[in-house]
Amino acid sequence: MLEAEQDFIEKAKAGDSAAFGHLYDHYIKQIYRFIALKVGTKETAQDLTHEVFMSAWQKLPNFKSQGFPFSSWLYTIARNKVIDHYRTKKSHVSIDDDGVIESDLLQSNVRTDELFDLQLSITKVHEALGQLTGEQREVITMRFVSDLSPAEIAQILNKREGTVRIIQYRAIQKLKKILEEHP
């Protein structure tokens, strides 16, 4: 959580764009990563990330934390944007079919000599994740890539925390089995 986050939120709610700028800088990478792992392409990830922060800025005056961090709200918006994206623009593709990560997601910020190895690692991990159910994959990436707590994930997915822990446990067991079979 960003230091003085509550202060930035209150100022941004009152229309202080500089305060929102701090929130944007702090959360842009994790929200972009969350979306990119779901949509797989740079252009779509950029478009949806932009839409998420635009919605957040516009709707911020009516934001109520309800005991959860600001990031949970951003992830909820991001998840809904991805669902809308698959529902409207790509109705023939399911949200659970996000098995391909395009290499251009990495090119800009990775050294050329390590790009190939990194791409290979990502493809391998992503293939393993691809064998999980959409729900399991979502929980695992939010828990171990975005570092969200089970309570935050439960809030974003609109599920009970206990349910999230069960999904996580089953996903880990399944991943373990997959990696044992295909080390």
């Binding site: 990330t49 922060f53 997601l105 990502i122």
Partner: protein, 136 residues
Amino acid sequence: MTEDFLKQLLQPLRRIEPEQTFIAASKARILLATQEPPMNMLSSRLRIRFFESLTLTGAIALASFLILIAFGSISYLSGGGATLATSFNNDALISEAQSTDFQLQIKAVTYFDESAKQVAMALDKITQPNAQDPKK
């Protein structure tokens, strides 16, 4: 498999990051946009809670009720209501009740008067001594 191992395994995915040019352009465009005005606290809370709690069945029931109210209002305003309202006038009800009762009494007296005459005439004919026997 520990959680630390899983974090390490998924570490490459953390390398996915947006381009700096995209970040700068997107941020600038967002901060130029205007915010939505804050909604009134009470009305927004009531509105959200009311509509969020509506199920499909509840929504249909509410719509049916509103349609019923609308048709009832139209019917009332187009004259049916005026007739109904006058029927609750006590004086009119009393006078109506009295006149109805009176007419019934007159009709009953007339009936008994006429029927009594006819019966008396029939009895006279039967009891006359010189009345001819139809068999003769």
